[in-house]
Symmetry: C2
Subunit: 566 residues, 2 copies
């Protein structure tokens, strides 16, 4: 009512109204972090001239694993905020698989510590990971059973229950799985889904359990069925998932309210150079989705899905979380306000991402000392070989005839060794097998990121080099390592073996460099030297996977052996 | 997954999918009151053949004062359910103004007592009345101040805070008003609005307070502005509010998600003969609103607005609340399921509305004995006269010259007396004035419903008849009464003086009869003998109103006098 001065008034903006899809020319008046009016003639302590930019509610990323950026929460926030994101629904699935609940607590604290003029530039709703570990065939750093889930989900720490990846358990009405979901729902908390290729009766069952979202759709038909069954479809714009446009074809004027945008897994390079949700908006509009639909998909729709009552719209009583963008085509972000505080402008973030440090997530790589001999693999005759293929994460089973010398296999041409070393409890567990299609020659490389238990994955054709890679990874507290003859290089992912505490520019650069070093060992075109390794332990994707417990035949859902008994 | 038999399967229905706006041919499978799948091939204990009817989520009436039907909750439920309503958001504003919180408790209990095969055919979300009393110029049966509101809103009894009619207090930032709203919001409860003609800065302020709905829009322009400011627009299909179609013109493919349907005030005759939300749907479709939009406005949209997570859609995990309708044009209801139980079929309700009785809401009419002399009105010279007009509820101030005889005014032609008698505490308070435009000759009539304090309103040109009307109303425990010479008739509204405990057919018939008797006294065309009286105490509608405390000049917002001092 203009009885008092506002704290802030944003003038000269084209204000996008997400309730009507219209643009209003008007001032946005802010007091105590809230929008108090859209109108004209406001008097304020601070006036910001938007110079004709479009004012949108800042973006809500509906589902993201921050760890996949390999950035610390603080560095992630710098990139995310400057691309217009105000809230992320983050599932700390990776760090919790390593550090347990302490990992989630660290994430929350780290994000909370970023304070600027009294606000948190990036607000985080943390989901309690629902599937720790993801499969029974591996050793993870923590186990969250039904009872623990019931205790944890009640905490303020957690906004909801993270993607329920173990969909066979839900569809099969496994008691522990359902008890986790029930615990969340009874606390009024949302349960996120992960329902690849679920359809028909199975999809009905999955939805009947009370799960509300899915980000695994692969095409419009898949989206349509999930929309019909009441799931919010999370249109994913990840670094490796490439079906945003295909999925968005399912959108109609009637159903767009049920689609929301997410990143899921997005690396630092993409975050810096292409952006986050702003990139998704650009892509949607480019393919012909009306801008007002696209914007709703990351503002009002997401706020409704997640019950974020004060978010997702520029209207009185809503938080003054605002992204100013140049146009509704490229969505170049010109300024970002969080609760009425300017936190990013142009290409600059205005806040300093002060680091939060926690012993709980440091020095997490605990392995028994390994020697070259530990990588011997005594195989002969017919053996199962895991075959990787360019541009994908599926593997195949290849059967080869091999011979052995002094208790170690003689590697056929184009074949190297793959080892997965348990790294949480220094148990000495190690799985080993042969790997084809990868192309490495004359050394070894490894990484401590390997979904979902994040044991060490080492690949090589030289036992000594493989042992050295393991040692380098241990020394660094996790990370990536290359050993090529005398050449050695390691890049530390010192936070839980998953994330670097360095500035994002350095993370991007160092990742590029070590990847280039790895490439020199002849790794095939179309295969990412490190990033292709991180899925080789994920024992839910066909056909063969390797964990610290051995070779897994995913189709049969059992541990198998390399040696084929005849 | 069809591992077990379902409780119920509905076959042969055209299933409306509110997420996509499409019709699916499919079976609806129900177990434990929940939809577990939409598909085919289900095996069930009970099979219901819908014979090609359309299956819709049953309707949610977003805002209704049940008391306005003059029916007991049980009789209301019979009519509401058979017209396809599954949930009502009920504001027991009237009964709470008479009986205090005990009135709300009675409503809740009465609805809860209607059980049929383990379900409540009509589910009720009760809103805590926010404005008791509505104005300072009258004596209500209860007062709910800020502190009491803070205590009460935390109870499970109340779903949210009822329409905040005292909008000037909100816009004026009155501390007590804001403390009520704040108390509701801090408990995560919704606050309903009532914002007639609010616009611009005032609307911004009202919305900024956190109020989420409005049902007082009068045209599309009004709707559009309220939609923009983030209010859900409640499209009202009441008995006396006639702007559903006018308001619905504001709907677009983009914004229809923010419109919801409500009845507000609807009498028994309309409920029985025209229906409730089914009637609103018919009217919307008739004016050209696409049926999928209209249906969303009373299902998904309303469920989202009020956070009714399990309501508003036919999809797995949702409550099996289903209305079967003949077509998507007339919406004739053929069958109604509540949590999977058939509760109405054709024109029949299958449940019996067992009465819940409460002393708290009986014998609520407490008045001092009144005699003919109490209705004497000693006026002479220039006096203010309240003038009523046909087909509206506004009044005007008319100035007349009158003379007095033996301490009582000589009524000019076309003028009668109006009296409002306090009836909660037998205080003897009585307001009196002259009334023109009404047309009554030769008797008196009165009613115990008078918004919002529900004191007795008596109109007549004969002091003896007026006293007799008051006595009849007292005897009946409230209701309607007519005295025309020797003829006397009363119809009891024995529940709080607002509702009858008789079957709805009788209520409709008796109301019609007593109204016909009243009409015989010459009441003008276009003026409802009783229903026009119920707003004459509502001291928030211009120009003159009469309460037990006297004549109120609403424009000046002060008590005035009939006698004009010269």
């Amino acid at each position: 009512m203009k009885r008092e001065k506002c704290d802030l008034v944003i003038k000269g903006a084209k204000v996008f109204n997400v309730f009507t899809g219209e643009i209003e020319e008007g001032e946005i008046a802010v007091k105590n972090g809230k929008i108090v009016g859209i109108g004209s003639g406001y008097d304020a302590q601070e006036v910001y001239n938007a110079n004709g930019a479009y004012a949108l509610p800042s973006f809500i990323d509906a589902h993201i694993h921050v760890e996949s950026s390999m950035l610390s929460p603080e560095e992630f926030a710098l990139l995310s905020v400057k691309h217009g994101t105000g809230v992320i629904i983050a599932d700390p699935h990776e760090i919790v698989n390593v550090c347990g609940i302490a990992g989630a607590e660290y994430m929350k604290e780290a994000f909370s510590h970023i304070l600027y003029r009294g606000v948190n530039p990036l607000e985080v709703c943390l989901q309690l990971p629902s599937c720790v570990p993801a499969s029974p065939f591996e050793t993870s750093g923590a186990v969250l059973n039904g009872k623990e889930t019931e205790q944890e989900i009640g905490r303020d720490l957690f906004y909801g229950l993270g993607e329920f990846m173990n969909y066979p358990a839900v569809v099969g009405a496994d008691e522990e799985a359902l008890s986790k979901i029930e615990a969340a729902l009874s606390q009024g908390k949302i349960v996120d889904g992960h329902a690849p290729a679920l359809s028909g009766d199975a999809l009905n069952s999955y939805a009947a359990a009370g799960i509300k979202t899915d980000h695994e759709c692969v095409n419009a038909e898949d989206c349509r069925e999930k929309l019909k069954r009441g799931l919010y479809v999370q249109l994913r714009n990840g670094s490796s998932a490439h079906n945003l446009e295909e999925n968005a074809k399912a959108m109609t004027a009637y159903n767009f309210r049920r689609s929301i945008l997410c990143s899921d897994d997005r690396n630092a390079y993409d975050l810096k150079n292409h952006g986050e949700i702003d990139d998704a908006l650009k892509r949607l509009v480019r393919m012909g989705i009306p801008a007002p639909w696209a914007i709703a998909c990351t503002t009002l729709n997401t706020a409704e899905c997640y019950g974020l009552k004060d978010k997702g719209a520029l209207a009185p009583s809503y938080d003054a979380d605002i992204a100013l963008v140049e146009d509704l085509k490229d969505f170049r972000v010109l300024g970002v306000f969080k609760r009425g505080v300017l936190v990013a402008e142009g290409d600059k973030t205005l806040f300093h991402a002060e680091r939060y440090s926690s012993k709980e997530v440091k020095s997490t790589v605990k392995i028994k000392e390994v020697t070259a001999d530990d990588f011997r693999l005594d195989l002969s005759g017919k053996v199962r070989v895991m075959r990787v293929k360019p541009n994908g994460i599926m593997t195949e089973e290849e059967v080869l005839n091999v011979s052995s010398q002094k208790g170690d296999v003689l590697l056929p041409k184009g074949v190297c060794k793959l080892a997965v070393i348990e790294r949480h409890f220094a148990s000495g567990n190690m799985g080993k097998c042969l790997l084809s299609g990868y192309g490495l020659k004359g050394g070894a490389l490894g990484i401590s990121v390997s979904h979902d238990s994040h044991n060490l994955v080492v690949v090589g054709d030289d036992n000594t080099a493989m042992a050295r890679v393991a040692a380098l990874l241990k020394e660094a507290g996790g990370g990536m390592a290359v050993v090529n003859g005398k050449f050695e290089r390691a890049f530390a992912l010192d936070i839980a073996g998953l994330m670097s505490s360095k500035p994002y520019e350095e993370v991007i650069l160092e990742t590029e460099e070590i990847t280039a070093h790895a490439r020199r060992m002849g790794i095939k075109e179309g295969i990412e030297p490190f990033m292709s390794l991180v899925f080789l332990s994920l024992a839910v994707i066909p056909k063969l996977r390797l964990t610290d417990k051995g070779l897994v035949d995913v189709d049969k859902f059992e541990i198998t052996t390399s040696q084929i008994k005849e």
